[in-house]
Amino acid sequence: MCFAIKGRVISVKGKKAIVDFEGIRKNVNAEFVKIKKGDEVLVFNNIIIERCV
């Protein structure tokens, strides 16, 4: 099932971001969605595909 995982943006640097998934932090691709620190985002395959508002 292709469902994404929700996380919170810890920091953004260029097209990369660090996202926290309830304690697990991952360096992810942030080139497809405009985001900023603190945003809740949906991530799949290390790519932010949506910002939750």
Binding site: M1, C2, F3, A4, I5, G7, F21, I24, K26, F32, V33, K34, L42, V43, F44, N45, N46, I47, I49, E50, R51, C52, V53
Partner: protein, 170 residues
């Protein structure tokens, strides 16, 4: 939601063959009406007009296909993009997700190749890298014994060629 624009799906029947098998999970999660899933299945099976916003029903797969299409310089999600996502990139995505959420089971989510061993009215019996199993024949019209097919959940998705099987990590 703040979205990037999803590209149009050119080959909707093929996209749905790969996406419908996990529709039951969407129904259980309350994200899809069972009747809609049944209608999508029928439309795909019977080659009817597909008049559903499938990009909204399967948003993650649509977005991942959009990213692949863009990387390939395409402006729509065609059969090559769909196969590249579901046969190759999908497995990486599912395994990435398991690293973040180890409690999620992944075996059923995976798409893998299988060899058809036997066909009857209700089932197709196949040999897969995960063992022998019975599959639903919904999308298996024209499939013959010894054909190589792709499998998602308990569905035969489509007959696949050797060049795709070689690119799959099974």
């Amino acid at each position: 939601m703040n979205d990037f624009k999803t590209l149009p799906i050119k080959d909707k029947p093929l996209f749905l063959r790969y996406a419908i098998p996990c529709g039951e999970v969407l129904v259980k999660r309350g994200e899809l009406e069972r009747q809609t899933l049944l209608s999508l299945n029928e439309a795909t099976r019977e080659k009817l007009e597909i008049d559903y916003p499938i990009e909204k029903i399967f948003p993650v797969a649509s977005k991942m296909c959009t990213i692949i299409a863009r990387q390939m310089g395409k402006r729509e999600i065609d059969a090559e993009v769909i196969r590249r996502y579901f046969l190759i990139e999908h497995e990486k995505a599912i395994k990435w997700r398991q690293k973040v959420r180890p409690e999620l089971k992944i075996e059923e989510c995976l798409v893998y190749p299988a060899r058809v061993l036997r066909i009857d009215d209700k089932n197709i019996f196949v040999k897969t890298p995960l063992g022998e199993k019975f599959l639903r024949p919904d999308f298996a019209k024209g499939i013959k014994v010894n054909d190589w097919v792709s499998v998602h959940y308990d569905y035969v998705v489509e007959k696949i060629k050797q060049n795709w099987i070689k690119r799959m990590r099974w």
